[in-house]
């Protein structure tokens, strides 16, 4: 029960920071609120026993992304006219439409941790859990799958990061920022 209360509290916190990030006019405040949202997501992953994802979310989402956003914003112009964004009817309608559409799919999902879902029942997950240590010698099954079983995918990921880095060097080094 206490875990449920914690999840509810974190979800409320995330909702609040998401609204603040969307509605606040000052971009710097908005970025900090967005970092708070990422931090809430990281706590949520940790509570739901996904420490690898939590670590990634905390380091990348709440940490580095915020720094890069702030650096980028320092170069741009910001309107300081009001405290909150004005909400137009059209964007409010779009938000409501998206929320209703996505919300309608939520009841179709199985309950969290319910027995009989493919992730718990399927042969694939059980195979990894049974054989990961014997076949790769790695106790963290996430890493075993990431590098051992799905090494080719991970090589592709590393190559994407590498290519992005090289492209960034080529593009950003050339021009003087104004």
């Amino acid at each position: 029960m206490s875990a449920d209360l914690l999840v509810i509290a974190v979800l409320l916190f995330m909702l609040g920071s998401a609204l603040a990030a969307a509605l606040l006019r000052d971009v710097v405040t908005s970025i900090v609120a967005f970092a708070g949202y990422s931090f809430g997501a990281a706590v949520l992953w940790a509570v739901l026993r996904a420490p690898d994802v939590a670590l990634t979310e905390a380091a990348v989402g709440a940490g580095i992304t915020t720094v890069l956003f702030l650096l980028t914003i320092a170069r741009t112009t910001v309107s300081r006219s009001e405290r909150f964004e004005g909400i137009s009817l059209r964007s409010a309608l779009a938000v409501v439409a998206i929320v209703v559409t996505v919300g309608a799919t939520v009841p179709a999902l199985p309950a969290m941790g319910a027995a009989g879902t493919p992730i718990l029942d399927g042969d694939v997950s059980q195979y990894y859990l049974d054989n990961a240590y014997d076949e790769t010698g790695v106790t963290n099954v996430v890493t075993a799958i990431l590098v051992g079983y799905r090494g080719f995918d991970t090589l592709g990921e590393a190559a994407v990061v590498f290519a992005a880095g090289i492209a960034m060097l080529l593009v950003l080094r050339q021009e003087e920022f104004v």
């Binding site: 320092a74 741009t76 006219s81 990431l146 090289i166 104004v178």
Partner: protein, 182 residues
């Protein structure tokens, strides 16, 4: 530094009022880098620990939560913290883009080398179990994680400095007469 924090805050508030209803550029209002003894001391104390944590997460991803992607970001945070504490320009003066590119290339190269190395023992690409050393599979997976970590930290460090350099000089160019204040 002539401005006390209270003065600075009052000035910011005045600026806010003056800029009411018009476009302003945060980078042009105040220097992006302000020398602060507290931040410098804090960063000097905790930077080694953060770097150690990053390397630990990178290496220990095989046995606990973590891995190359997360560890690389945490390790790169060290350089970002140094940039915040001592100014981006002085740190960037020590970094060359070619070195960063070589570092990133080395990380990817380590991954590929470990992958292709399996051919030498009669296996196929990325077949780690064939390495004829004790726990060969585990150690090669850790080496791959280290390679990923180097790629990620190199790219993030480069992104930080490419976005960050020029901020100070842009400020200097805008308001050259405030140089003695800092």
């Amino acid at each position: 530094m002539s401005d006390s924090p209270a003065d600075e805050r009052a000035e910011t508030e005045r600026d806010g009022e003056a800029a009411e209803g018009q476009l302003s550029r945060p980078g042009a209002e105040r220097p992006p880098y302000v020398e602060s003894t507290i931040i410098m001391t804090t960063v000097r104390v905790i930077a080694p620990f953060v770097l150690t944590l990053g390397v630990f997460v990178m290496f220990h991803g095989a046995s606990s939560a973590g891995g190359g992607f997360q560890g690389g970001v945490i390790a790169a945070t060290t350089v970002v913290m140094l940039g915040f504490a001592y100014g981006i320009e002085p740190i960037a003066a020590h970094l060359r883009n070619e070195h960063l590119a070589l570092l990133v290339l080395g990380g990817l190269g380590a991954f590929l080398l470990v992958g292709f190395g399996a051919y030498a023992f009669g296996g196929t690409f990325l077949e780690f179990t064939l390495y004829p050393i004790h726990h060969g599979s585990k150690y090669s997976i850790e080496l791959v994680e280290l390679g990923i970590g180097v790629v990620v930290s190199g790219v993030i460090t480069g992104l930080f400095f490419l976005l960050g350099t020029g901020l100070d000089s842009a400020y200097d160019a805008d308001e050259p007469d405030t140089e003695e204040d800092r």
